[in-house]
């Protein structure tokens, strides 16, 4: 069995880090709206942008969702650009129409885009103005623009925008644990049960499922990042006085143990209580992972940069499933938040930060990996070249964290290989 604690991990000789610049094939931060609008049940996301923005979200939203979405785009047109229409008045008009249509909305995000950033539309002032006008509907803003954010950084920007608005925890309160990052509801519930078994009673989540239930944060808040892409959110929480618990990410059994342990340590949970709380889950994860280890052991894996989940996923594949890492691409490598993960990667793993698409595709073709993890735009072209692929966006739309999902996570990587083996055509 793998070592349960980060500190006792096998020593690593460090990674082989490369930085690349050039054409990228990644989503912008607006894409996060696709899961965030479902996570916060009474929030609405209004992108202030172009027709391209609207088209992106509806295309990324799984080739369309059959319910009325809680997101929309206020499309800037030439009248707005020519100054014929006052952009602020226009925005007020659009928001008013929206709120009339959806009286169930309690929290509205004005989401900046590439065009709104370039024309310097001040959405924070608009949010303030609309907040006072639409009271009790809260209006916040963040940028999901592709010139500033890559894919999951949109969630980071959204959560960071929530932080200044969170209730302030009293200085004298007892320490509370905050889990940061959108997780599937079922995963949250599992973690709650586990923390409760350890005796950590006060556990909160950011984002909460409803606008009215956002967690209070103060100097006695200790937080665990559930996702590796929350740079700005962590910064905002630190400013509020909260303290981050350094940990690996809860992907796979080992990552989950390390992640839970960081909380246990900070909250003075005894070794015995910790072990008792996690043992059943960890054992189930081991059982679930075993059959996948056979299929992924020795398989050569290549990651294109996408969600910033690449490093923890690569660590999971290498250490718990015995896969060999050809290249781990990531749009951005947060060295502090990923410290434990980087340490766990096999010595000499090639990690590429940034992207030069055509060069990276050349390397991938030359390496002929057994499995390539990449975005939706690249998957079919690589499949057509005979490479098995796993589209990475699914890793964000599927509950994958924690012990109970470790087997599911492994299965996501096994499925393309299994499928290829099944097909006789």
């Amino acid at each position: 069995m793998n070592a349960p604690l980060p500190r006792s991990a096998a020593p690593c000789g460090g990674i082989d880090l490369h930085q690349e610049q050039g054409q990228r094939a990644v989503f912008c931060g607006l894409t996060g709206i696709v899961w965030l609008h479902r996570k916060i049940q009474d929030a609405f996301f209004l992108v202030v942008g172009s027709r391209t923005c609207a088209h992106l979200i509806q295309s990324a939203a799984g080739v369309m969702i059959f319910a009325e979405p809680r997101f929309a785009t206020a499309i800037i047109d030439e009248r707005d650009l020519a100054g014929l229409a006052d952009a602020n008045e226009e925005l007020d008009r659009v928001v008013t129409r929206l709120i009339e249509r959806r009286p169930d909305i309690k929290l509205l995000f004005l989401v900046g885009s590439c065009p709104s950033e370039v024309i310097k539309l001040d959405l924070s002032r608009a949010a303030q103005r609309l907040s006072s006008r639409l009271n009790p509907v809260r209006v916040l803003n963040y940028s999901g623009s592709g010139i500033e954010t890559t894919f999951t950084q949109g969630e980071d920007a959204c959560l960071a925008a929530l932080v200044p608005d969170l209730p302030r925890e009293a200085e004298t309160s007892t320490p509370a644990l905050l889990i940061v990052g959108a997780l599937a509801d079922v995963v949250e519930d599992q973690f709650l049960r586990m923390f409760s078994a350890m005796g950590i009673a006060d556990v909160r989540f950011l984002p909460a499922r409803r606008a009215g239930g956002m967690p209070a944060v103060g100097r006695n808040t200790r937080y665990l990042l559930a996702q590796p892409f929350l740079t700005e959110t962590a910064r905002a929480l630190d400013e509020r006085g909260a303290r981050r618990l350094a940990a690996p990410f809860p992907l796979g059994a080992e990552g989950t143990t390390g992640w839970l342990f960081a909380a246990a340590e900070a909250f003075g949970v005894s070794a015995l209580a910790f072990e008792a709380a996690i043992a059943p889950g960890r054992a189930r994860a081991e059982t679930a992972l075993a059959p996948h280890r056979e299929k992924l052991g020795g398989k050569r894996v290549f990651f294109f940069p996408d969600s910033q989940l690449e490093v923890p996923l690569a660590r999971f594949l290498a250490r718990e499933l015995g896969a060999e890492l050809v290249e781990v691409g990531t749009p951005y490598l947060h060295r502090a938040h990923l410290a434990a993960e980087i340490e766990w990667l096999p010595a000499g793993t090639r990690v590429t930060e940034g992207q030069s698409l055509d060069d990276q595709m050349d390397r991938c073709r030359a390496a002929r990996p057994d499995l390539t993890i990449c975005g939706l735009g690249l998957a079919n072209p690589l499949e057509a070249e005979g490479l098995s692929t796993k589209w990475s966006i699914e890793l964000l739309f599927t509950p994958v964290q924690g012990y109970e999902q470790a087997g599911d996570l492994a299965e996501l990587f096994v499925r393309p290989l299994r499928r290829r083996a099944l097909l006789e055509v």
């Binding site: 027709r51 088209h55 369309m64 059959f66 009325e68 047109d77 249509r101 010139i147």
Partner: protein, 530 residues
């Protein structure tokens, strides 16, 4: 600013991508931030293409804005030329790059590449996808078709030669329409010179002028190019769209006339099964079914004609999101005695469908959302497309096989005749009532409200408050319904109940009746049923 929940068309550079991706030997360098690379997935996931679109994005970032985005663009053009060795390139900007005004055309020209580099000006804040496709194709034809020349007389005895213009990547059934139309032309004895953009190279565009005339399948993308070819090379182009039996027959006649040949080999042939299927007595239940048609102009007009003239439906709504073709759609709507709906606002279309209370919606993927919510059967007849609109089987919309496909597409979502009758007769059968959908669709309710709830036409489900858009208020409180009349109303099938209610209330109002009784309900029925 326009509030947009769903958009019917992408921005114009997506249209340019549809042209570039359809062709080979052409490369598109798009000055755009990284988020715009999502467009690849339209082609690789929705259309399931096996290669990346031939597009290089500059993917500039905020930090580049302070420096030199123009240099970045030039590097991208050089690198793309070196790597892909295309015959020609197109260059342009997406919405964000348009704002930073780097002049992609001028920058690319300065590189002095040894191939044609065609600049595209696609105003992202005014125009949309179809316009972008048409403009791109027109610019390509203009740049590559060669100098204007009169059309040489065809050698006596040689086969007439035509081009087929319009099919693009990500087009609604373009792949199969092309096969069907090629077959028709072949049967007539007409040879096909070039198909463009789909499958053409830049060099092929230089041979467009060799054809005697052009077949325009999709005016949305090919009309401006066809007009250019007519003006400069004297090539006439077809006006008829071969959708439906009537459309196909008229198309064959038009093509035969342009080619100066006999149309008999096709028109005397077996044709489509649609006419007989439609005359078959099992189809009588289709008579005067109320349909709402919405899509791009080409498909909306074609399908509305099929619905009315070939299936005997009544077209109660007709519209398009393509403003460029508003005139044509208005003219067609007038023939059906209705006013056309010209809008790209999904909320307006939703309101119009509610108001028209159709029994079948023929629309796009957007109307599928609306129809599902309103509990109305729906079939998709036009882009915007979904992965399901690229079926594995042969499923053209055009030609005689297209007419066969349309018959099935338009009829299958409906309830079969006998089932509908029984539903009407035994309205209180617990297993066979309003809330039950057609048995061939699994018998599940498609959102019809349960007994006691008011009609879909009056009130949306709770999670979907009514739009503030101009939804006609069907309830006029001036006329009060007696409880008996209200109960009787419920015995009318839900899909026409809204209409019955409106009609009865209008009838009562016109006659200043204070109370609607069962008698009033049937008086109104007799009045409107004339």
């Amino acid at each position: 600013m326009q509030l947009t929940l769903w958009t019917y068309e992408g921005p114009p550079h997506i249209g340019a991508m549809r042209v570039a991706t359809a062709m080979s030997g052409l490369h598109y360098v798009l000055h755009a931030p990284q988020g715009d690379t999502y467009a690849d997935l339209l082609f690789t996931m929705i259309e399931r293409r096996d290669a990346r679109p031939p597009v290089t994005y500059t993917t500039f970032r905020a930090q580049d804005l302070g420096r030199d985005t123009a240099e970045l663009f030039k590097q991208a053009v050089s690198a793309a030329h070196e790597r892909f060795q295309p015959q020609a390139m197109i260059v342009g900007a997406s919405c964000t790059a348009e704002l930073i005004q780097d002049d992609p055309g001028g920058l690319a020209k300065a590189l002095d590449l040894p191939i044609p580099v065609i600049p595209l000006e696609l105003p992202a804040y005014q125009k949309k996808e179809n316009w972008g496709a048409a403009e791109t194709f027109y610019r390509l034809v203009r740049a590559l078709a060669g100098p204007p020349a009169p059309r040489p007389a065809r050698e006596p005895g040689s086969r007439p030669l035509c081009n087929i213009l319009g099919p693009t990547a990500l087009g609604f059934r373009h792949r199969d329409d092309l096969i069907e139309i090629r077959r028709l032309l072949d049967t007539l004895g007409i040879a096909v010179n070039i198909v463009a953009p789909l499958g053409a190279t830049p060099a092929d565009l230089g041979r467009l002028k060799d054809a005697d005339f052009n077949v325009v399948l999709y005016p949305e993308t090919a009309r401006s190019a066809a007009e250019y070819l007519k003006k400069n090379f004297g090539q006439s182009f077809t006006q008829t769209i071969p959708i439906g039996v009537g459309g196909t027959r008229r198309f064959v006649e038009e093509v035969a006339a342009l080619a100066g040949i006999d149309s008999a080999p096709v028109l005397d042939g077996p044709g489509s099964r649609l006419p007989w299927y439609s005359r078959s007595v099992d189809s009588t239940y289709l008579t005067a079914k109320r349909v709402f048609v919405f899509g791009d102009a080409t498909h909306a007009i074609g399908v509305a004609r099929v619905a009315a003239k070939e299936l005997g439906f009544t077209v109660v709504g007709l519209g398009t999101y393509g403003r460029e073709f508003a005139r044509e759609v208005r003219a067609e709507a007038a023939l059906h005695g209705i006013e056309a709906l010209i809008t790209d606002d999904y909320l307006d279309v939703e309101a119009a469908i509610r108001a028209a209370a159709p029994e079948l919606v023929l629309g796009t993927q957007m109307e599928r959302h609306v129809a599902k919510r309103l509990g109305i059967p729906c079939a998709v007849i036009s882009a915007p497309v979904h992965v399901q609109d690229f079926p594995a089987r042969y499923a053209p919309q055009m030609g005689f096989e297209g007419a066969n496909v349309l018959f099935d597409t338009l009829v299958h979502p409906l309830m079969m005749g006998l089932e509908e009758h029984l539903l009407g007769m035994f309205r209180e059968d617990p297993e066979f009532h309003d809330g039950v959908g057609p048995s061939h669709l699994g018998g599940k309710s498609f959102g019809a409200p349960a007994d006691g709830a008011s009609e879909a036409t009056e009130r949306a489900p709770a999670d979907h408050p009514p739009t503030p858009a101009p939804v006609p208020i069907l309830l006029d409180r001036a006329a009060t319904w007696s409880p008996e009349a209200e109960r009787e109303l419920k015995k009318i099938p839900f899909f026409v109940r809204g209409k019955a209610r409106t009609n009865t209330e209008t009838f009562a109002r016109d006659r200043h009746l204070p109370l609607i009784t069962v008698e009033t309900l049937y008086d109104a029925k007799a009045h409107y049923g004339r």
